[in-house]
Symmetry: C2
Subunit: 339 residues, 2 copies
DNA sequence: TTGTACGCGTTATCAT
DNA sequence: ATGATAACGCGTACAA
């Protein structure tokens, strides 16, 4: 194939057909005022020459882009890619494209991404903020020019006036704890994640509320925190199981990879009652079926649904079905999956 | 914040400053002919009013979009998301955005995605074709208007005249087989994937070439095929291990989830020499460390590198550093990771 | 039924 | 040193 030198535009078609540009435009858009025969001629020529309307031109004219910007920490975390899975399909089904930009949990990159998307005049922004985002000026820019923003997946602190779609991590942890209580456990440990992540505390609240609602005394000996580093997880677990007089019989963990590290460690040291310790973590990794000592259940966070709810809300805002000032908070429930 | 009624454009700035639009434009773009003082005034006003150039207008003028289109089967497959991880970063670093569109391995959706991206006048297309793509007309459209296309991750059959970036799955399988041979195995089984996927055969070729180069006789009893369905994997494994006189001592599998199913099954039936069977699969899943009976090694496919090579090649084509007709084939080597 | 004219926001060329 | 004008491709109000 040869590289086509003259792009096929309305003007080009008009010259070929010896008509005016506007007639061609109207014919292609099926204006009722255009003669049927003319329409046919135009449409055939357009098809033959493979005319494709230029979106940049239409965007400029209509002052919108039919593009949704998505900023998220990264695409290696399966949680985020699962949100995008649902989100992209819903967007496409509604005639929108999505531009994805990774912040790598770096505030500078997040700001740059936001600026690029602002130039692109995206019709809306969906953002999972970086760990270090405290100031929201780069996001507020969008709302300042009337572009709606939905925060999702990660909860922005100190920023109440915004639309949010979040996993109901409180409810998930509550149900997991309740499940363990129902199975007879009273010594249930909670292994939290990084303290700077709000989910760590939301989950703790779910845990502690379930205990309280069942009149089970809370002991701080049964609470420890870690990050995603294996060594820290191990020392956290060591603390939780330190007192041989008072050993937990069940464990709720912040995230499955952390839980797997914990389980692996407990097995490796041949913890005496290990086979009786029942564990639950957030994630529901498909891989669990291959484990010899699997958790008894998983907390499925439904990330696809989080993504879908985010774009649904955003499209409602774009279409003025919801007042932009009428700030929404959507919580997507978790589901306990017993293995 | 109030929704801004008048968008901040060059014209708007010009009126505020009582200058012409072209002066404002030049001032913002640091034209040498503009008075320093004027520049300062304009730039300050632009900053105050948060002027952001409209990309649609620039696109229209410059006849390019600085957007790369990416079409892939889906974002749940970790292989593809890992390609995007590398690709997006490289694109962003070079001033390009990416629009991702999932085909769900559905040809119709792939065509629709292609058409949308064509309207968007993406500067280039990177595509991992669907399983059912035999006809390439929807992709050829891009090259017809001079937009370069790079096929990646999946090999398009019957389409030699194209740019490709693929994992060197032959080499990966050859090395895995060689590794097992070096460990003394002579009865090595190959568990292939769906026969309609070309990688299944490329990997088989790697396997059989390694055997041949080591003068190990090939036996068709040691070759079986499956898809991603667990039951089919089990019956394939049953076939491979059917003859108790002639049981494989090692196994190379098409993909790790398949391999895990195979291992799980062999353990469940208490295959007599199971602990001596050494297995290798494609993937290098991070969770392998939690398995009790892990594969002895994994074939790491380096998907990030596949994505990065795809966009590198595409940018070279966009920048005319490579002739569009000078079709490239880039193979990204696999790496054997011993556990 | 068709054509003319204008504007979307920006940049580049040519005048002043 | 600054301004007027045209052009990118498209849609539409208005004129013919």
């Amino acid at each position: 194939m040869m590289k086509q030198n003259t792009p096929v535009t309305l003007k080009f078609l008009a010259e070929k057909l010896k008509m005016s540009v506007s007639t061609v435009s109207k014919a292609l858009n099926n204006y009722p005022t255009i003669n049927e025969y003319t329409k046919k001629r135009v449409q055939e020529m357009a098809k033959d020459l493979r005319f494709t309307p230029n979106k940049s031109a239409i965007n400029l004219k209509e002052r919108k882009s039919r593009i949704i910007g998505v900023i998220l920490p990264n695409l290696l975390d399966h949680y985020f890619t699962r949100t995008i899975y649902g989100l992209e399909q819903f967007a496409t089904a509604n005639g929108y494209n999505i531009i994805i930009s990774q912040s790598q949990d770096d505030l500078e990159k997040e700001i740059q991404s936001a600026n690029m998307l602002l130039r692109s005049r995206v019709d809306g922004l969906i953002i999972a903020i970086s760990k270090h985002t405290q100031d929201y000026a780069h996001v507020d820019q969008f709302e300042n020019i009337g572009t709606p923003v939905v925060y999702y997946a990660r909860n922005p602190s100190f920023n109440l006036n915004c639309h949010k779609v979040l996993g109901n991590t409180f409810q998930g942890c509550y149900e997991a704890t309740q499940f363990l209580i129902d199975r007879g456990h009273r010594k249930i440990a909670y292994l939290g994640g990084p303290k700077m992540i709000s989910f760590t505390h939301d989950r703790f609240n779910g845990y502690i509320n379930a205990l309280r609602d069942n009149d089970i005394p809370f002991s701080s000996d049964f609470v420890a925190y870690t990050d995603f580093d294996q060594e820290n997880t191990i020392s956290a677990i060591q603390n939780l199981f330190a007192d041989s007089e008072n050993v937990p019989t069940a464990l709720v963990a912040f995230k499955e990879p952390i839980l797997f590290d914990a389980i692996k460690y407990l097995r490796s040291i041949k913890h005496p009652n290990f086979d009786k310790v029942e564990c639950i973590g957030f994630g529901n990794n498909a891989f669990i079926t291959y484990l010899d000592a699997p958790p008894i259940a998983s907390i499925e966070e439904n990330p696809e649904s989080v993504g879908e709810n985010a774009i649904k809300l955003l499209l409602q805002l774009i279409n003025d079905q919801i007042e932009i000032q009428d700030y929404q908070k959507v919580m997507v429930d978790c589901k306990l999956v017993v293995h």
